[in-house]
């Protein structure tokens, strides 16, 4: 299950999607909207996505993870649109036979997603807003 969605992410569905008989371990990363970032109070968040390319890149990342680690299944779902504090922005679930691989693959997937998948986060504060990472 690899998708971008404007609906709340169903975490249980992501976990179900990576069930496999040979998997003894599942690692799940859940990224949520914090109320605070670099000493600014965040009121809400907006994610803009280049949908088709984002899904293509996420699929490529899942394939690359499966080459690097003995991965059984991967689920990656990213939210788009307006989010409030506490909302789930991204869920990545990875199943592997042994746990170290699940942790490593999941961590690599979220780290790499943040580097290459065309998704943009705007934080809205009481007094203004900002596209994150845009400027040096």
């Amino acid at each position: 299950m690899i998708a971008v969605t404007d609906q709340p992410i169903d975490i249980a569905a992501c976990i179900d999607a990576v069930q496999a008989e040979r998997a003894g371990a599942v690692d799940v990363f859940i990224g949520t909207v914090r109320n605070h970032n670099q000493s600014k109070d965040v009121v809400r968040l907006e994610f803009e996505t280049f949908d088709s390319m984002a899904v293509k890149k996420m699929k490529e990342l899942a394939e690359e993870a499966s080459r690097r680690w003995p991965v059984e299944k991967v689920a990656m779902v990213h939210r788009k649109g307006v989010l409030s504090i506490g909302d789930v922005a991204v869920v990545i679930a990875v199943s592997t036979p042994h746990r170290n691989d699940a942790f490593e693959a999941c961590r690599w997937l979220i780290d790499t997603l943040k580097q290459v998948v065309p998704i943009w986060k705007k934080e809205i504060y009481e007094n203004g807003e900002e596209w994150l990472e845009a400027h040096p």
Binding site: P118, I119, W131
Partner: protein
């Protein structure tokens, strides 16, 4: 040739629309597109990075462009 550039995030805010049409000589490459848009919108040069996606793939500076390509400016991503 006339290229339609899809815009997202801060590049959409800077240029003020979600699609931007640019005129370039036939056979122009990614590098020329970037020079053209940075000349028209100097604020784009202040970004941490600015990439170009051609047909949903990150393109090199030397990649040639055609009117049939789906072209997008990719400012620094910040998903997750």
């Amino acid at each position: 040739m006339e290229l339609t550039i899809h815009l997202y995030g801060i590049t959409r805010d800077i240029i003020g629309q979600s699609r931007y049409v640019v005129q370039l000589p036939p056979g122009a490459r990614v590098q020329q597109l970037l020079e053209s848009v940075r000349t028209s919108y100097p604020e784009l040069a202040e970004l941490k990075s600015l990439l170009v996606a051609v047909n949903e793939e990150y393109a090199e500076a030397e990649t040639p462009l055609s009117e049939r390509d789906e072209i997008a400016l990719i400012p620094p991503v910040s998903g997750g």
